[in-house]
């Protein structure tokens, strides 16, 4: 039940796009059609579900203060947390590479759907951001971290497919010249953000 609450919370209340603006760049660049946006959203979700738990383990057994005691009690005073960024990003880049190879070998169909997006994802701030939030919030176990990753990914998927649908419809409307393209996307995202704030009132 706790996990379910966490899932709902990370999809709607702490939505990656509307509450934290993570992954905005690809969100704005790729959201022209629903099909490609859904592909990118799925790829992001997929990568998040894998990277967040892995980074959780890295953080717990390598980085946080006193984390090295499992090797030897003498290392209890070692604090490697300043290495967080470099290690997290290296792990993410490596996992994305490995995932791409695995998907290519075992499920070529999935690869043709997600393939072009995977290399982009290593530098998507939603991925690194999610791992950093995971570290900041101090989840209790790997399961929670995985659910948090899943929820954030689904929230991102929801946001990007929604705006893509709106932008597809927008093609038929008259927009002031200066606002066409990026400008209107910003404003729509802002309005969607206001709408999503309604979820903040949910007590879980």
């Amino acid at each position: 039940m706790e996990l379910f609450k966490l899932l709902i919370k990370s999809v709607f209340v702490d939505n990656m796009i509307f509450a934290y603006f993570l992954g905005m760049c690809s969100y704005l660049a790729v959201s022209k059609t629903v099909k490609t946006s859904a592909g990118l959203g799925l790829a992001v979700t997929f990568v998040l579900v894998v990277t967040v738990p892995v980074n959780y383990l890295i953080n717990k057994y390598l980085l946080s203060p006193g984390a090295l005691t499992w090797i030897s009690p003498k290392l209890a005073s070692v604090d490697l947390s300043f290495l967080t960024y470099i290690l997290f990003i290296a792990i993410i880049a490596a996992i994305v590479q490995i995932l791409e190879m695995v998907i290519e070998t075992f499920t070529p169909a999935l690869h043709s759907a997600l393939g072009i997006f995977l290399p982009l994802i290593a530098v998507n701030c939603a991925i690194l951001g999610c791992s950093l939030f995971m570290q900041e919030r101090g989840f209790g176990n790997v399961g929670e971290a995985a659910v948090f990753g899943l929820g954030s990914g689904l929230g991102w998927l929801l946001a990007i497919t929604t705006i893509a649908a709106i932008r597809e419809k927008l093609r038929y409307s008259k927009i002031p010249k200066g606002l066409q393209g990026v400008g209107i996307s910003f404003i729509i995202t802002g309005l969607m953000g206001v709408a999503f704030m309604a979820f903040m009132g949910i007590k879980l």
């Binding site: 993570l22 300043f82 701030c125 951001g129 900041e136 400008g183 404003i187 802002g190 953000g193």
Partner: protein, 207 residues
């Protein structure tokens, strides 16, 4: 001189990384509820962009192109760690406010974008200037957005009260919506609108 002008001044207006190229939006919006974190963030990104452009440009002949992304990420991450430690030591409260967004400078697309598009094909000094210009262009938008959000949302600038008390007594209210995340997007949207109305050549054709 003209080179300097072109590389540093142009990104402030004509090729602004945020409003024209639409890069580095994420952190740009999240840290702009107040002016002070926005200034710190802008300065940090400028330093990282300029230095990483410089370093990658020095290394550009030695990096095999297949692994260049990883090399770039490592250089940028190392610089960001320096900035992060520096902020923790000398500006602890701002560093707490910025929280994960300092770390997210690593994945800021402006940096990767400039590395890929400029530093890999230009000399170190030019790349340094290009990084500086793009960092400043980013900071400019950050400061403008933060200025309006803090002024209208809290009635303060850099923490000092600027809207006089008599206004509040006469019934003026802070606009609480300005503090909330969605407003940042709408303000950037409006900035883009104003900029593109003034420079019609930047307008996008309707699909």
């Amino acid at each position: 001189m003209s080179n300097f002008k072109k590389l540093v001044i142009e990104p402030l207006r004509k090729t602004n990384p945020v409003t024209v190229l639409v890069l580095g939006i994420c952190s740009c919006l999240a840290v702009t509820a107040q002016l002070k974190p926005a200034l710190v963030m802008g300065a940090s990104v400028t330093v990282v962009t300029a230095l990483s452009n410089f370093i990658i440009s020095l290394l550009r002949k030695g990096i095999p192109s297949r692994i260049r992304i990883i090399v770039q990420l490592v250089v940028v991450a190392a610089l960001v760690i320096l900035i992060d430690q520096f902020l923790k030591a000398f500006a602890y409260d701002v560093s707490k406010q910025l929280s994960v967004y300092v770390g997210l400078i690593i994945t800021n697309c402006i940096i990767m974008g400039r590395l890929e598009a400029f530093a890999l094909s230009h000399g170190p000094w030019e790349s340094f200037l290009d990084g500086l210009g793009n960092g400043l262009g980013y900071s400019l938008i950050l400061v403008v957005v933060a200025f309006f959000r803090e002024l209208l949302g809290s009635g303060t600038l850099l923490g000092y009260q600027v809207i006089p008390q008599s206004f509040y007594e006469a019934g003026y209210m802070n606009n609480g919506l300005m503090i909330l995340p969605p407003m940042a997007l709408i303000i950037v949207g409006v900035i883009i609108w104003i900029q593109r109305t003034r420079h019609p050549e930047m307008q996008e054709n309707q699909n």
